[in-house]
């Protein structure tokens, strides 16, 4: 049997940058541990859904997609133990009809558990529930020196805090134990509110803390007194008595959705300013205010129904920008950013605003109290320079950029936003992990 593994072209979800490297796909936890021990330096990669260069390494990428086994579920507490390569979609397929839902979910279900820990992902419920790692009981971590360490708030707690949100730079996450939360149904009661301007939108967020889920979509091409006009979507898991009568017998069943896929790279004109402006206007009009019931999949994962949606940005790929801004400077910083975007005519297909809650314990975790804005752009030279300007505005206002999205920030914007970076570096050095792990992201940002 052939074992000569050639090199592969690998990229993140943004398809920029691309690296030619050696990829391993271990099938068992012991082979993963051995690979990590044998490598001079490496990065572990899950399903490749971080956008930029966090999962890229010049010489060795170890992918966990084949380590996708469940290990145990405790039906009393909702604790699930699983291998790091298990996909969130798999957790939903397996546990939702038993009444369990992930405590925190990002905007795609095609992410691995290990990736959710390494990026300490947040969801629309961050203001109340915190980030994913707040629901993790423990992880097993292979540190590349022959050791596998159980890490939790009590055990190897420094490594735990460095690994949660640590972008894979502390070794290989082998297994994750975390708590699901009980739900009665597979539907969400959604309330849509329109905000004619940014200050209205922020007001609505501040008055909506009681809603479990909240998120806003911003029309980022609106300007003048419409600057920051948004549609805010609030949500609660629906109770059985809120369902239509015909669905009360099978409240946890999800209707099958047929996934479409994008068969080819779109030509660049598809995302030109006029077409995106038209989309933004239509989308804003389509968000009818009021309450309705929606299925879990379209509510949480609207883009997942289109496989390979990243191809609409064409061959050159796209760059994501996401920052979080402290409460006190949020309005000013957001206005500066939106003004910049509408002035430059930078067409962002998706602009998402969300209120975040308490800061996470992870040393490099992204979430902190304030407002987070996410944008994406085709990866042209001009757009990348806009992203750099946005990075600078973020740093000026004491905000931080999200490493899982970033592909082009400079080291100084990292230093500005992550005050615990030095502590993170010390933990890595103490375990020799600065030598044994690395990524294009850690190189670029001098982590």
């Amino acid at each position: 049997m052939t074992k000569s593994q050639g090199s592969e072209r690998v990229h993140g979800w943004g398809r920029f940058p691309v690296v030619e490297t050696h990829v391993e796909r271990p099938r068992t936890l012991s082979t993963l541990t051995r690979s990590v021990d044998a490598a001079d330096s490496m990065i572990v990669r899950g399903n490749g859904r971080s956008y930029g260069d966090a999962s890229l390494h010049r010489d060795r990428v170890i992918e966990t997609t084949r380590l996708d086994r469940m290990i145990a579920i405790d039906e009393a507490s909702g604790q699930v133990i699983a291998e790091a390569g298990v996909l969130l979609s798999d957790l939903l397929d397996t546990f939702l009809d038993r009444g369990w839902f992930p405590p925190v979910t990002p905007g795609s279900k095609f992410v691995t558990l290990g990736g959710m820990v390494a990026s300490d992902v947040h969801g629309k419920n961050h203001h109340g529930a915190g980030s994913f790692c707040d629901h993790v009981d423990w992880i097993d971590l292979a540190t590349g020196d022959g050791k596998v360490l159980r890490c939790s708030a009590d055990q190897n707690s420094e490594l735990f805090a460095a690994t949660c949100g640590g972008m894979g730079l502390t070794g290989a996450i082998l297994t994750v134990a975390f708590r699901m939360k009980p739900v009665e149904t597979a539907m969400v009661r959604q309330k849509t509110v329109r905000a004619p301007s940014l200050s209205h939108a922020l007001d609505i967020f501040e008055r909506s803390h009681d809603w479990t889920y909240s998120v806003a979509w911003i029309d980022c091409l609106a300007s003048g007194n419409k600057l920051g006009r948004s549609a805010i979507m609030l949500g609660e898991h629906a109770r059985i008595d809120e369902l239509p009568v015909e669905r009360r017998k099978t409240p946890l069943r999800r209707p099958a959705r047929k996934a479409k896929s994008v068969p080819f790279d779109f030509p660049s004109v598809a995302l030109s300013r006029p077409s995106v402006a038209a989309f933004n206007r239509l989308y804003y009009m389509a968000q009818r205010p009021g309450e309705r019931l929606v299925d879990i999949d379209p509510y949480f994962y609207p883009l997942d129904s289109i496989h390979d949606w990243n191809r609409i940005y064409g061959k050159r790929g796209f760059a994501q920008f996401q920052c979080v801004l402290p409460l006190e400077s949020s309005q000013e910083a957001l206005e500066t950013m939106l003004t910049l975007l509408s002035k430059r005519g930078q067409a962002s297909f998706l602009a998402v605003l969300k209120r975040l809650g308490a800061e996470s314990f992870g040393l490099l975790s992204f979430p902190r109290p304030g407002y987070t804005l996410a944008l994406d752009f085709p990866a042209t030279a001009e757009n990348l320079s806009v992203v750099n300007e946005l990075d600078a505005i973020t740093a000026d206002h004491g905000g931080r950029i999200y490493l899982a999205k970033d592909a082009c920030a400079q080291p100084q914007s990292l230093e500005a936003g992550y005050p615990r970076l030095d502590q993170f570096r010390k933990v890595r050095e103490a375990h020799g992990l600065d030598k044994r792990t690395g990524s294009l992201l850690s190189e670029r940002l001098a982590i």
Binding site: M1, T2, K3, S4, Q5, G6, R25, R27, T28, L29, S30, R66, R69, M70, I71, A72, I73, D93, T94
Partner: protein, 248 residues
């Protein structure tokens, strides 16, 4: 509804694992058969499948070696008589090695043809009288025509395809459903590191889904990706005096 339990022969493979999950999701109990290794007998997969299993559905594992010469004893020792048997065991080998070293050729021929054939004959004997019984053999497009690059493997798979077609013919009257599966390229451990064309390459989960759908439709022979049927029809149609000079 498939006849349960489903016995998966070669359950450690990527296709075997995907099949076990897909059958469980359909509500069928599963018996995994694989060679024990240094990690034991599929303990990790057993735990995984038991977490996933809907209530009332069981998952067992039994030791199995397709080159072992006691297939009848193997079927007698099973915890339950299977309703569906899927032969997944296979060995790609390297053509160059198979051509040079007799033992390598013996491995490839044994694991892909004589072993599966003997186990499936024993399966048919063991399943006599089982209502809705089904035997599924994973063959290969490589068996559709011998090519310089892999004809030891290909000829063993050609043998398996002929075997399955004959068994299907014999059992057309008894009601035992016999199905041949030609997956084409699959992104598995066996093909890792090969430069496979994405449009012709299936994921293990796709192969599993296609097999279950075809079993429900009582198909005789399937290509997992339909375009393979077309490609192989062309390859088979090329006259031998031209074909022998090609390198495909």
């Amino acid at each position: 509804m498939m006849a349960s339990p489903v016995l998966i022969l070669g359950a450690r493979s990527d296709i075997g694992r995907a099949l076990a999950r897909a059958y469980l999701a359909k509500g069928a109990s599963v018996i995994l058969a694989a060679r024990p290794n240094e990690n034991g007998l599929l303990e990790d997969d057993l735990a995984d499948l038991r977490v996933r299993a809907p209530s009332g559905v069981t998952v067992e594992a039994v030791p199995f070696d397709v080159t072992d010469g006691a297939p009848d004893a193997f079927f007698e020792s099973l915890p339950q008589k299977p309703g569906t048997v899927v032969m997944v065991a296979g060995l790609l080998g390297e053509q160059e090695q198979s051509a040079k070293i007799d033992a390598r050729a013996a491995d490839v021929l044994g694991v892909n043809f004589s072993g599966p054939a003997r186990y499936l004959l024993a399966a048919a004997r063991a399943m006599e009288g089982v209502a809705g019984g089904c035997i599924i053999g994973i063959s290969s497009v490589a068996g559709d025509r011998g090519r310089a690059s892999n004809y030891v493997y290909g000829s063993a798979k050609a043998g398996l395809s002929a075997f399955l077609s004959g068994m299907r013919n014999e059992h057309a009257k008894t009601g035992l459903h016999v199905m041949t599966v030609k997956p084409g390229f699959v992104a598995t451990q066996m093909t890792e590191g090969m430069d496979l064309p994405a449009a012709m390459t299936a994921q293990p989960a796709e192969v599993a889904a296609a097999i279950i759908k075809a079993q429900e439709q009582r198909r005789d022979e399937i290509y997992v990706k339909g375009r393979w049927r077309f490609v192989m029809a062309i390859i088979r149609a090329i006259p031998e005096r031209i074909f022998k000079k090609l390198s495909i």
